[in-house]
């Protein structure tokens, strides 16, 4: 039993954090909103060079062959800066999905290209009505029932759908499945899509932790500076308790997210339930951080002027992605309410 990250993992987190906090500022985010793609090729190449894009690509294809436990803290940092690039889905959904396919030229080639920064792939799962970052992708991984298709990206086939979060670039895609693009089907395909959903939900959960932390940090800073009635508003107990409530909820969302990462990386038989628990807990912490953060910012919290809304909007947007609350609660309910459920003391780490 060891519920800690390794020194290496923590150091990697720290260096990624330093990089992201410097490179992905709220100014740069606002600047990207005004661009057509909303994305920075330069930044993506930096992420490639740092090995981040290929982290979960197998070593044979030029990646680092790492897993969800290695990446979960980094996904958290992506949330902390509200990274607009589609890194988390790339690392946690696309690469594992491709890597789980039987060896083939198509699989190997795309994995190689991804890790090398020569190609990007966006993913469309039936639980998400739209495809994130379809516009900068070279190919799309798309679901048709149980089938996994890899389709070349074509501008004319996609249509932008604006999200509350201006950094999100969502697209509906028109396409018709063809045998030639099908990489997996039947039970294998079904399992792949379920795995993709779990990884996608883990990515949302991890980013939500970072988002919540960022909203706490912004709110603490703002309320420590902003004066009202002759003192910083952060000295009022009501303001403190709003923030303390977020801190408590965030604190108890972390371990479930890390556990879910471990369970996915280790193919634990209850990984799905662990993911659902993690996603519910982490997104709710982020939603509370958004609500209470806006509240303690006072009227400023309701504007585009302070940075709160950048993170609040990401939190709201991610909340429904990769399975909404109804989906994830249903999985929890099935696990908890069945006969001989593995609940109660001593069952938490049951194999």
């Amino acid at each position: 039993m060891d519920f800690t990250f390794t020194e290496d993992q923590l150091l990697f987190q720290e260096s990624v954090r330093d990089f992201l906090v410097n490179e992905v500022t709220t100014e740069s985010i606002r600047a990207l909103w005004e661009t057509k793609t909303g994305r920075s090729d330069e930044l993506w190449q930096q992420l490639v060079e740092m090995g981040l894009v290929g982290m979960t690509v197998p070593e044979a294809q030029g990646g680092l062959g790492m897993n969800a436990v290695d990446f979960v803290l980094l996904a958290q940092e992506c949330g902390y800066v509200a990274l607009p690039e589609n890194l988390v889905e790339t690392v946690l959904v696309v690469a594992p999905l491709l890597a789980a396919l039987p060896e083939s030229d198509v699989r190997n080639e795309w994995l190689q290209k991804m890790a090398a920064g020569e190609a990007r792939i966006a993913v469309g799962h039936s639980r998400n009505p739209l495809v994130s970052d379809a516009h900068t992708a070279d190919a799309w991984l798309l679901q048709h029932n149980d089938e996994v298709h890899l389709v070349k990206a074509r501008k004319k086939n996609m249509r932008r759908n604006e999200s509350v979060d201006p950094s999100r670039r969502l697209h509906s895609i028109e396409w018709a499945p063809k045998p030639a693009t099908c990489l997996a089907k039947g039970p294998a395909g079904k399992a792949l899509w379920m795995q993709a959903l779990n990884y996608g939900a883990l990515g949302v959960a991890a980013q939500s932790l970072g988002l919540a932390q960022r909203m706490i940090d912004l709110s603490v800073k703002y309320t420590s500076e902003r004066q009202q009635f002759g003192k910083p508003i952060g000295s009022f107990q009501a303001v403190k308790h709003h923030m303390a409530n977020v801190a408590v909820q965030l604190e108890y969302a972390k371990a479930p997210v890390y556990r879910a990462a471990w369970s996915l990386a280790n193919n634990h038989r209850h990984a799905g339930v662990h993911v659902s628990h993690a996603k519910i807990a982490a997104t709710e912490a982020a939603l509370l951080a958004a609500r209470n953060g806006i509240q303690v910012h006072g009227a400023m919290g309701y504007t585009w002027e302070v940075d709160m809304h950048i993170f609040a909007k990401r939190a709201w947007a991610l909340d429904g992605a990769w399975g909404d609350r109804a989906f994830h609660k249903t999985r929890v309910a099935k696990f908890v309410l069945k006969d001989n459920a593995l609940i109660g003391a001593s069952n938490t780490f049951v194999a």
Partner: protein, 387 residues
């Protein structure tokens, strides 16, 4: 106690219902936080005024119908039920209007109210300052007397509608040696006056729902003063009472949101029921909107028998603003992955207005005195707890 309408009240209701059926625009207007939408809404105010439905509580001689509070509630119910446009001039009609009737001179009433009624002049409030948000008494913007004028310098913020409005009203410090709520004067300022700069502030949806107003030696005649010099606080408190009290947030709005939430739930019941919280929240939405309505009627009846509105205005503000947030958050839950889409996104398929409402609801617990301030007021003034 008689919880049924009189025949007259029922007839009044049918009269409004009928008029609205024939006049409410079939196509929703654009947001009044856009220039085009503002113009559309201004036109709608004129239409309302032509039907004498603009300010039903105003006296007949001012274009109103002299309605009592119950009739006003009935009017609001029909207004929201019909899906009528939001009131672009609400700061004028519901806040400044009643204040003018209480504190204005005859000349002021005659000069201001008719144009307010037709929408010819739309009003913005100018309450807050950068360092006087919830602490309204910390006002620093000055109005120095110069003969029969005031010369105004300073800055106001969170001025709702100010981007496109014609006039503003607010408090200014006329006694430079005064502190807190002394030495303040309530003054009406045209937004096209020389020396005024309006800087739009984009709100959560990106539209400039409010603005900062900068005053640089803005000269306004003394006739623009409402109430006595130095009596601004008293006048403003009356206005704030209207804001927190009955007039701005009639129950009908929340009842209609609750009704639409029930519809949304029923349309998506199969998936929504997989999250038991949703059904719970939907039932509560109806109960709370109903409780808010019942309580408002109760207060209205008490007021019409000569009662005064007290700390209820604080419980009131907390209740509706949190109800509004809960209802919209529930809608977001029901919508799941679609919740994040803007109304014009093709995949939003007609549910995007819930997102707009959700964003808007975030401000309810903040403006007009944060809910934290309201809770202090309840504890100290209603319950008598120590300061």
């Amino acid at each position: 106690m008689e919880l049924a309408y009189t025949e007259e009240q029922q007839a009044f209701r049918l009269q409004i219902r009928n008029w609205l059926k024939n006049h409410v625009p079939k196509k929703p207007l654009k947001s009044f936080d856009t220039e085009a939408g503002f113009a559309q809404h201004r036109k709608w105010e004129a239409t309302l005024n032509k039907g004498r439905w603009g300010m039903v509580t105003w006296p007949e001689e001012l274009g109103g119908r002299g309605c009592d509070l119950i009739e006003w509630l009935i009017f609001e119910e029909e207004y929201y039920r019909a899906g009528s446009p939001a009131r672009v001039n609400q700061n004028g009609i519901f806040l400044l209007g009643p204040t003018l009737m209480e504190y204005g001179t005859e000349e002021q009433k005659k000069r201001i109210l008719p144009k307010m009624a037709t929408g010819e002049e739309v009003w913005a409030q100018a309450w807050s300052e950068p360092n006087a948000g919830s602490d309204m008494a910390a006002i620093r913007a000055r109005a120095d007397r110069d003969g029969d004028h005031y010369v105004i310098n300073g800055q106001k913020t969170w001025s709702t509608r100010a981007v496109y409005a014609d006039w503003s009203f607010g408090m200014f410090r006329t006694d430079p040696n005064s502190e807190r709520h002394h030495g303040l004067t309530f003054i009406l300022v045209p937004l096209n006056a020389e020396g005024i700069t309006v800087r739009p502030i984009p709100q959560l949806d990106g539209l400039p729902g409010f603005a900062e107003i900068f005053f640089d030696n803005v000269r306004v005649p003394v006739e623009n003063r409402l109430g006595d010099e130095g009596a601004g606080w008293k006048v403003a408190m009356a206005t704030a009472g209207f804001e927190r009290g009955l007039m701005l947030r009639s129950p009908a709005r929340f009842q209609e949101t609750a009704r639409r939430l029930v519809e949304l739930y029923r349309e998506n019941q199969e998936s929504a029921d997989r999250d038991p919280m949703v059904r719970e929240a939907v039932l509560r939405a109806w109960m709370d909107a109903e409780a808010y309505t019942l309580t408002t009627y109760q207060t209205a009846c008490r007021l019409s028998k000569g009662g005064k509105i007290g700390a209820e205005s604080s419980t009131n503000k907390i209740f509706w603003s949190e109800l509004d947030q809960k209802m919209h958050a529930t809608a977001m839950s029901i919508l799941g992955a679609r919740a994040e889409l803007l109304p014009h996104a093709p995949a939003a398929q007609g549910v995007g207005h819930w997102l707009d409402g959700f964003l808007f609801s975030q401000s309810g617990t903040i403006y007009a005195g944060t809910n934290e301030i309201q809770r202090n007021i309840i504890a100290e003034r209603m319950l008598g707890m120590p300061r």
